[in-house]
């Protein structure tokens, strides 16, 4: 592809690749802990971090990482102390972060345009050094999110139980928060601080439409995040549109496709889930039991179109509110 001859396009594609991989990996744990908006909250806080960098003349990425990590730990502390619910804690920091950022940017005599490159990303201006930093941080995040998956899953799923297996719940919770903060600042240059949460959450929401397990969701969302990120940058290289926004809209488009599929799948699985049979239930009926009086116009079987649901050692056919089980030459009502 001729576009790959341009260095800035290659750098943009690499940046997108690593962000797309890391953001959903952390996002999966945030969604599992019902803190889907945490990425957004950290993004807002990072605005203050960027502004501090602009004011003091140091690297805005560096100050953003520091402020984001502090903010993320603060959210976790407020949340776990139980005095304020998670969403209220997030809201407080949202507004503090963005207001602080705007105020300090003004003090630094920087225009809104400078801030904009961080709010909405400027992937086409990333340097080779930026790409290296992004790659290293993203790989560390992915290594932890995948390597500690059993522990992080258990802690998010049921903190009380996790403590009784000897896990230090607080350490793992803070770890997820720090990972989220690092990811947000890594993604700052790709999709921007205001849209980073989308890349953390939308691929997860999409994957869980079709996945039945946690690991499947984790892997699928990472794959999906990578595809939409690289895809979004590619599109914006041909058509003159903002890469960050393109990535997010692409991710939402995939979700819009997956949602009806997921609904159909879930409905089918619910219909076909085995009926529960207790250990003492041998399905034996009184010898004098009555047959199903209803006329069956066809023989129930694999291809009769009625859901065949396992029930203990046999199959019930479900139709018109009945559960019919074959018994000799007739059907029993189960």
């Amino acid at each position: 592809m001729s576009l790959l001859h341009y260095d800035f396009v290659v750098r943009a594609l690499l940046g997108a690749l690593f962000t797309g991989l890391a953001a959903p990996a952390v996002g999966t744990y945030l969604v599992q802990r019902r803190l889907a908006l945490m990425g957004d909250g950290i993004g807002h806080i990072s605005v203050t971090g960027v502004a501090l960098g602009l004011l003091t003349g140091t690297s805005p990425t560096f100050t953003a990482v520091v402020v984001a990590v502090l903010g993320a730990v603060l959210i976790e502390v407020i949340r776990s102390s139980g005095r304020t619910s998670g969403d209220v804690a997030l809201a407080l920091l949202f507004y503090g972060g963005i207001a602080g950022g705007v105020l300090i940017t003004g003090l630094a005599n920087q225009s809104a345009a400078t801030l904009n490159t961080y709010l909405f990303g400027s992937i086409t201006t990333v340097s080779a050094q930026d790409v290296t930093v992004t790659a290293v941080l993203a790989l560390v995040v992915v290594a932890i999110a995948v390597g500690l998956a059993p522990q992080l899953f258990s802690v998010a799923q049921d903190p009380d139980f996790a403590r009784v297996t000897g896990l230090n719940v607080r350490v793992y919770n803070v770890l997820v928060s720090v990972l989220a903060a690092v990811t947000v600042t890594v993604a700052m240059r790709t999709v921007g601080l205001l849209l980073v949460s989308a890349l953390m959450v939308v691929p997860v929401a999409t994957s869980q439409q079709v996945a039945r397990g946690f690991r499947a969701t984790l892997w699928a969302s990472m794959a999906l995040g990578t595809v939409v990120s690289v895809g979004g940058v590619t599109v914006s290289a041909y058509v003159d549109v903002a890469p960050g926004a393109t990535i997010v809209l692409l991710a939402l488009a995939v979700f819009a496709l997956a949602y009806p599929t997921g609904t159909l799948l879930r409905e089918r699985r619910r219909r076909e889930a085995p009926f529960d049979a207790g250990p003492g239930d041998d399905f034996a009926l009184e010898p004098a039991h009555t047959e199903v009086p209803e006329d069956h116009t066809h023989q129930h079987g694999d291809d009769c179109g009625h859901p065949a649901v396992p029930h203990g050692d046999h199959v019930d056919y479900v139709h018109d509110g009945h559960r019919h089980a074959v018994h000799g030459g007739h059907y029993d009502e189960h």
Binding site: R34, G147, D276, G278
Partner: protein
Amino acid sequence: MSDPLIEIRDGAVELGGRPVLRGIDLTVGPGEVLAVLGANGSGKSTLVRAALGLVPTCRGSAQLYGVPLASFRDWHRVGFVPQRGSSGGGVPASVREVVASGRLSRRGLLRPASKADRAAVDDAIAAVGLSDRAHDAVSTLSGGQQQRVLVARALASGPELIVLDEPMAGVDAPSQEQLAATLRTLVDRGATLVLVLHELGPLADLIGRTVVMRDGRVAYDGPPLAAFADADGHGHEHHPDQDHRPAHVPGMASPLERATRRENRA
């Protein structure tokens, strides 16, 4: 004589500055099957949570297997089944994944599950009769089946002590049977069970000892009384230290009596 599995001496618990448990002395030895009974708010859940270190005690001492809670490390010897509803996340998780998290107390960090780990998880799922649902999302199961998943998770590490908080609450009949059968097998194998219960119900014949909580104190500790499994299906006595009036006979009789008296006068 071996160490008691659970030992609380003069334990007290405060939640938010309010004393919730007071003067608790509780010892659970190997092989005991103990039911903790009591009305809502009597502190029975808090009692088992304190014994496991989930809520801190503000005085006295609490030990597991003879080791103070703060330095206890053999968590694989303890299985915990929390109240259903306290768990569950925003991402689907399969039955197998949830049960596998019960094995973490035996697995080191960053070590993939060994053959023995996987076999233990399969066995635990089979023990609660859910092998055919192992790869389904937990959220698609019935409430009773979800409760069985939590029991399987507690069994995955092969614990000698299993603590269950209201395992029969909101559980459908087939799952109650299955759970009772699973617990019976565990007792036959010599496991020690501590069950927080609202009523003895289908487990009545398993229970060897009952502790009745009242207002944050142990009001009764001894063999199950007939009153705990009384015929009206109520299951337990709310005030065992008071006169044994039948529990929950409502005040319906008195207005009728008054009415009768008035008629007699007329």
